[in-house]
Amino acid sequence: MPRWGMVIDLDKCTGCQACTVACQTENNLRPGSVEESQRGRIIEWIHVLPVVEGEYPHVKTRYMPVPCQHCDNPPCTRVCPVRATYKNDEGIVAQIYPRCIGCRYCVNACPYTCKFFNWSQPDWPESTHGGKSLSAAHNPDVSVRPVGVTEKCSFCSHRLIKAREQAKSEERPLRSEGDFVPACVEACPAEAMCFGDLDSPGTAVSELSRSHRAFRLQEELGAEPKVYYLTEG
């Protein structure tokens, strides 16, 4: 059974936020308004976190793309009262939108602030040309979340289903690298992100995740995230 994981090289990351935009379109994320942004209600499954280090005059800002960490020991799944969030056999932490009661306990339990809540009904603006609503451009593989539920990065698990079907039709096993790639990894222009099975030897992710530059966010909490970062310098 593969254990899907991601490695993000902070040396290569330019903080361009292409991953955020790719995720937005791939996963039918609601377009946020200025007002929502001001009230802290923007939904970005992968957000580029600015990390300010040091004190004046020795200040340095770094950018860190943070998707759901897909913890191997997820703090969020334990606390869900209705099992609407769970970790599947391949290590992907998923959310069942039609079951979620919107109590936001999992969101609070997440130490990475990587889960999001639908405060309002999504509003899909009319397109400027063609007269069609933006909802016409939805990715049909991903369900649109209704008001009042929690949502999160799924490592584009719909792409995994497709990749598996593809491999089946070609009568070959699913490759542990390259067949299943999330949208953010695909879009990264600096090739700072890579994705694959952490457990199969030889894949870039398994090599890089064991390199001396590799670290994970808040490792001391013991949540065992499957998103690895490579330090700068």
């Binding site: 209705v82 979620c100 109590c103 602030t113």
Partner: protein
């Protein structure tokens, strides 16, 4: 009336008067409460349910706010009754008799109001039943569901059982009200019935104590089982239970003072009751300080960066006014409950100036507090504004001095009115405990471990409307209950009298026999 039916004794007359008579004041109060509650319903149905939780002030990362605060607060209030009356019953405290009914009623109504707040807080209340369809027993929220439902059923039973003989009495007095006949369950006060009822009450009072303790423990576990800074604490269980009993006693005292005045229960709710409950309140106050102190000192010595952000958010950051407001309330409670008992005497030559100074001081303290909160600055900035550098010692002990000054300024009045002083203390406890719950829930969420931006939380009018709904709803249920059922447990108080008399008789018999023994 008494002359025509000489069988009605004063206790029965006093206890039943609120049921038999309805004043215009009652209708006015009921109208005001219903209007407030309806306003809340309007906010919920036509704003929140129509537009989603965007009408609240909640955001990312402050996902919980006033609703959860109210939930914890009201479930805390529910510890008034059942727990206190159960403990007093089990330990055979005879003085408990007149107050048990009120205490148990508060429990039931607080438990009706409290858990509703979780539904207010839900994004999808329509899917509420998923909790039974797909339960995850690893989730502390499910422990809440289990414990609170058991507690609710238990406390309704606990309220109902000792009320059966009183309902039977009402059935006999007011035969035209059929529901008394149904609720009385054919009570005829036979020895067998009495024996069974007493047994049931004993069993219930013992069983309800661990249930009540479990309820607020698992409420605290909702917070403690996450790895949030200043939530993930082992003392949260007992800390919440202590706070719950504390605010519960305060709610009970407030109800007692008001009912005593409005329904003329002076003869049965004596200063003695307020004195004893006041001591209980003082004990809980000390325990509360002990737990709060332990919690904050441990956090401070841990110096974990994530926890220190929350810590300073409370001590000197955005939540300092709420935090120190809470401390102010609790200190004031402490001094209100202790100072009147101390043999402090104003020396004779100072008495005349003190009479003038006291009201001035009381006003000055209130004005200082308002000034500080208006300035929204720390003591230090206030002193800088005034170009009057306060000595550091004074600056730091302001919070300790202000409550003492406030209580001292009212001292002669409080000393002569133990009932008023317990009322004042209870009001401060209720305000302080609400602030405490808020200060536990919100500052932690404002300072998450991994923050991306500056977070803030300003509750919206919808949230305040639903808070008003909670308070109005609980008071309304309590008031309506007091108009249908006697708030003094007539049967139990009579049993108490009988027991007292028989003990007296036995003693006399023993004394007589002893005197008969030849020397």
């Amino acid at each position: 009336m008494r002359s025509s039916t000489p069988s009605i004794d004063p206790l029965e007359a006093t206890a039943l008067r609120p049921i038999q008579q309805r004043s215009s004041g009652f209708y006015l109060l009921a109208f005001a409460l219903v209007a407030t509650a309806l306003w809340g319903v309007n906010a919920l149905v036509f704003h929140q349910w129509r537009n989603g939780l965007q009408v609240t002030g909640l955001n990312c990362p402050v996902f919980w706010g006033v609703y959860i605060t109210n939930f914890v607060f009201f479930v805390g209030i529910s510890h008034a009754g059942t727990l206190i009356s159960a403990i007093l019953r089990v330990t055979g405290q005879e003085w408990r008799r007149p107050i048990t009914r009120m205490a148990e009623a508060i429990t039931v109504f607080a438990l009706m109001v409290g858990p509703i707040n979780v539904i207010f807080d839900m994004g999808r209340p329509d899917r509420m039943l998923n909790i039974f369809k797909h339960p995850n027993f690893n989730s502390p929220l499910l422990w809440d569901v289990c414990c609170i439902s058991v507690y609710f059923v238990g406390s309704i039973t606990f309220l109902y059982l000792p009320m059966i003989p009183d309902i039977a009495l009402l059935r006999d007095r007011m035969p035209h009200r059929r529901f008394y006949r149904i609720l009385a369950l054919g009570w005829k006060a036979t020895d067998r019935q009495k024996h069974r009822l007493e047994k049931a009450i004993v069993v219930m009072s013992i069983a309800i104590i661990p249930i009540a303790v479990s309820v607020h423990t698992v409420v605290s576990y909702v917070f403690a089982m996450t790895i949030k800074p200043m939530w993930h604490s082992t003392i949260f269980g007992p800390y919440f239970v202590v706070g719950a009993i504390y605010s519960g006693i305060a709610a009970l005292l407030i109800a007692m003072v008001i009912l005593r005045k409005v329904y003329h229960f002076e003869e049965y709710l004596k200063p003695e009751h307020f004195r004893r409950l006041g001591f209980l309140l003082l004990t809980m106050c000390c325990l509360w300080f002990y737990f709060t102190f332990s919690e904050f000192l441990t956090t401070f010595y841990g110096q974990s960066p994530e926890e220190m952000k929350v810590f300073y958010g409370k001590m000197s950051g955005d939540y300092r006014l709420l935090f120190w407001g809470m401390v102010f309330c609790m200190w004031t409670t402490f001094f209100t409950l202790t100072l009147p008992w101390l043999p402090l005497r104003t020396p004779a030559p100072l008495r005349a100036p003190a009479r003038v100074l006291r009201p001035i001081l009381a006003i000055a303290v209130v004005a200082a507090f308002v000034a500080i909160s208006q300035r929204a600055g720390t003591m230090t900035t206030l002193a800088m504004d005034l170009r009057m550098p306060l000595p550091p010692f004074l600056e730091r002990s302001m919070m300790a001095i202000m409550p003492i000054a406030f209580v001292w300024s009212l001292l002669p009045y409080l000393r002569n009115n133990p009932i008023v002083s317990s009322f004042v203390a209870s009001i401060f406890v209720v305000i302080g405990m609400w602030l405490e719950r808020f200060v536990i829930v919100v500052p932690t969420l404002v300072n998450p471990r991994l923050s991306w931006g500056v977070a803030a939380y300003h509750p919206s009018w919808v949230e305040w409307s639903l808070t008003a709904f909670d308070f109005a709803g609980m008071v309304l249920l309590f008031v309506l209950f007091s108009k249908v059922f006697p708030m003094l447990p007539i049967w139990e108080m009579r049993e108490g009298e009988l027991a007292e008399r028989s003990r007296f008789e036995t003693q006399r018999v023993i004394m007589d026999r002893a005197s008969e023994v030849p020397a």
